[in-house]
Amino acid sequence: MDWISWMLPPGASTFARDIDWLYYLILVITGIAFVVVEVGLIWFLVKYRARPGRKAHYTHGNNTAEIIWTTIPAVTVVVIGLLSGGVWNNIRGRESVPADAIPYRVHAQQFEWNVTYPGPDGQFDTPDDFTRRNQLHVPVDRPVVVELTAEEVIHSLGIPAFRVKQDAVPGMRIRVWFQATTPGTYEIGCAELCGLGHYKMRAVVTVHSQAEYDRWLGQQSTIAASQ
């Protein structure tokens, strides 16, 4: 029953493991807080409703209570922060991009994604490079790094299944990396309002087995060479 589910859709990248785990941790913690507070609220409303002959309990507060309900939330959020910081560093940190990541260039523009592949030689700006519109092909279980650029306005490369999202900013070259774990096709959407075609700035990422990827790459360069 999707409409009440707090589960995340299945992830297909290495990031999904860490991000989803963090999400569920926060879900449990906030879920407990939610139940405690809301049940407490309703219970008080019922138990302490006005009744003839009963006066309210006159008090201005309790310092111990203040200390407890300041410390517990503070410690909790700091812990969540520290755990999150570690995951963040693995995804976005300075040294986070694996050295052997396959390079791609994605240029976002109104309203399409232009993906440039370095071709079989793995180098950009060589004759075997080729560009495809709205199609990203990657091999499974290999890190991939995208150099993300934008033509005119801010777009955002969003691949929900991979837990990937990175704004593409005109005038900047931003690196975003990921490693797909499951072959299949997944959708890419633009995650930053970019004009009237924002809603249909859709692309598809296909995750191939290594063999299939090599075959596909070979085919593409033949096509490119013949043009």
Partner: protein
């Protein structure tokens, strides 16, 4: 048992009111009239903002289908009643813009700042009554300009209420030219109105408190309005500066945010959110303060932890300045900088938690009267908790990667702004309506309005968490373009229908508001048996508020005090048992 001491002679002023009709009700310098003027204007814009949302929801629930009655809309917006994508983007932009700047902010700050501050501190009016009038009459042209944007060529602004550059900076990218410029100009003018108001509020609270009204005898509504005014004073000018630079990029060929000659799109985001984050605390602090007043009254108990509450308000006000980057985690900003913003954002959860527990502590052991204001104030707490907890998810930078720019954010912001601010506004309106208009609102109609609003509201916004978790992006005209979003069509429809019901329910509030003005039961000075100074003067108060300056002897919220027989002790009631000197007993 104490008896009431005979009134002490103070320097007073006779309350003669010989102003003309125009001076009394149109170009008035009376803070109460100005407050009501802001109230009427803001409620109108709340309606406009809601109507815009209904059109948005129609498109999301029934993509590409003609809107019933949509034939009245021009071809440039919805040919044949079918909303165009460019119009949809305008709807999204203008819904946010009207709601934030012309509804919620003026409802909290313009209405209740004006109405409550002088009355609750014992002053005859604001420090600068004419400046106050200027403040309102500056907001009016700002509103007119903002509405005008719908009628210009190219349509209204469509770059989101956040106006990110370069999309907003060059008409070529949206097809919108004059509309986007009017948007900037209107907000610059509104900023001036807000800043003048803030100067007034801050000066008044500092200098015009009645004798005995020490800082720690101020009700929390006033503390929160005071801190909010400081935020307005310091944050709005940043927005003004940013809007000017944006306007110049749009019209004079400057390059602040356009990369062609070295401008930086991210600079806009930094400027906007440096304003924008304090702005959202502007949108919640007064709500929290007024909710405290109502909850203490409804529970017949002092606020639990008054000093902690004041400390929490100040902390939120201060910390609110150092979290802005959490709106920009995915923007391409330096990841280490992002981590520092994550820490500060996690920390700001703490004072909010303190407040929630203190509200619960106030209700604990109380003798709770569930009058209409108390219903709304309780709902405020319950809904704000949901909004606040959902914020923890997005505070975590890695989790934010997934939920940024999805409906999870939309759910969060509506839980704090509607579930939080708007319910608190309903609490405040229903609570202070008798004082403002001298009439009681209908309790029965109020309860029905509350119940239906609460139910439909949750039906609209709770499922948005699910939409977002499924990956549903914000601001998209037709989700069915994406295969992974097609299954959510049913949920979107459910939300749409609930939204229509929610909107329709507000008719009950309008009937109550307007009907009670003419036919409501006449209100006494103090229909809620409250302790605040505003309840010691008639409903509505005369021009000048009191013939004799009040003198304050007690803390706020002295409900169920053992010192008196009634279950409330007004702040200005002198007891003839020699009172401890102010400050000598703990917290007097």
């Amino acid at each position: 048992m104490a008896t009431i001491a005979p009134p002490v002679e103070h320097a007073g002023h006779p309350l003669v009111d010989d102003r003309s009709f125009i001076r009394k009700y149109i170009f008035s310098t009376d803070h109460k009239i100005i407050g009501i003027q802001f109230l009427l204007m803001s409620l109108l814009f709340l309606l406009v903002g809601g109507a815009l949302a209904m059109v948005m929801r129609w498109q999301l629930g029934y993509p590409g289908r003609p809107l019933p009655g949509g034939g009245v809309l021009p071809e440039t917006m919805a040919p044949g009643g079918v909303v165009l994508p460019e119009f949809y983007n305008s709807l999204v932009t203008m819904h946010g813009t009207f709601m934030v700047f012309f509804a919620i902010m003026p409802l909290l700050v313009g209405v209740f700042g004006n109405y409550l501050i002088p009355l609750k501190i014992g002053a005859p009016d604001m420090a600068f009554p004419r400046l106050n009038m200027a403040s309102f009459w500056t907001a009016v042209p700002a509103g007119i300009l903002m509405v005008a944007g719908f009628f210009v060529e190219g349509g209204h602004a469509s770059a989101g209420w956040t106006g990110y550059a370069p999309l907003s900076a060059d008409p070529e990218y949206t097809g919108v030219s004059a509309g986007q410029q009017l948007w900037c100009l209107s907000l610059i003018i509104l900023g001036l109105s807000s800043i003048l108001g803030a100067v007034n509020y801050i000066s008044t609270v500092i200098n015009l408190r009645a004798p005995g009204m020490t800082w720690f005898r101020l009700p929390l509504s006033i503390w929160s309005l005071f801190i909010t005014a400081i935020l307005v004073l310091l944050a709005m000018p940043i927005l003004s500066g940013a809007l000017i630079m944006l306007l110049f990029d749009q019209t004079l060929g400057t390059h602040f945010f356009l990369p062609a000659e070295g401008g930086q799109p991210i600079l806009w985001q930094h400027l906007f959110w440096f304003f924008g984050h304090p702005e959202v605390y502007i949108l919640i602090l007064p709500a929290m303060g007024m909710a405290s007043d109502v909850i203490a009254n409804g529970s017949r108990k002092p606020i639990f932890g008054y000093h902690s509450m004041v400390f929490a308000i100040m902390s939120i006000g201060f910390l609110g300045w150092i979290v802005w980057g959490h709106h920009m985690f995915q923007s391409g900003m330096n990841p280490t900088l992002a981590t520092s913003f994550m820490i500060s954002t996690m920390l700001i959860a703490v004072p909010s938690a303190i407040k929630v527990f203190n509200w619960l502590g106030t209700m604990w052991g109380g003798s709770i009267r569930l009058h209409v204001p108390m219903l709304h104030a309780t709902a405020f707490v319950a809904m704000f908790v949901i909004g606040g907890l959902s914020g923890v998810f997005m505070a975590s930078t890695p989790v934010d990667i997934y939920i940024h720019d999805t409906y999870f954010i939309v759910a969060h912001l509506h839980y704090v702004l509607f579930g939080g601010s708007l319910f608190a506004i309903f609490a405040a309106i229903t609570f202070w309506y008798p004082k403002m208009f001298g009439r009681m609102m209908s309790e029965r109609l109020g309860k029905i309005h509350f119940g239906l609003t609460f139910i439909f509201y949750n039906m609209v916004f709770f499922p948005m968490h699910q939409l977002g978790l499924h990956g549903h992006m914000r601001r998209i005209y037709d989700p069915s373009i994406y295969d992974f979003l097609k299954p959510l069509g049913g949920l979107n429809r459910f939300i749409t229908i609930s939204a229509f019901l929610l909107f329709a329910t507000q008719i009950l509030f309008m009937i109550n508001f307007i009907g009670s003005w003419f036919r409501g039961r006449k209100a006494s000075n103090n229909p809620w048996d409250d302790t605040g100074l505003e309840w010691t003067t008639p409903s509505p108060p005369p021009h000048g508020n009191w013939p004799v300056t009040p003198r304050v002897y007690h803390r706020p919220y002295e409900f169920s005090s053992p010192l008196v027989e009634e279950d409330f002790l007004p702040q200005d009631r002198e007891l003839d048992t020699p009172p401890a000197r102010a400050g000598s007993a703990p917290g007097h």
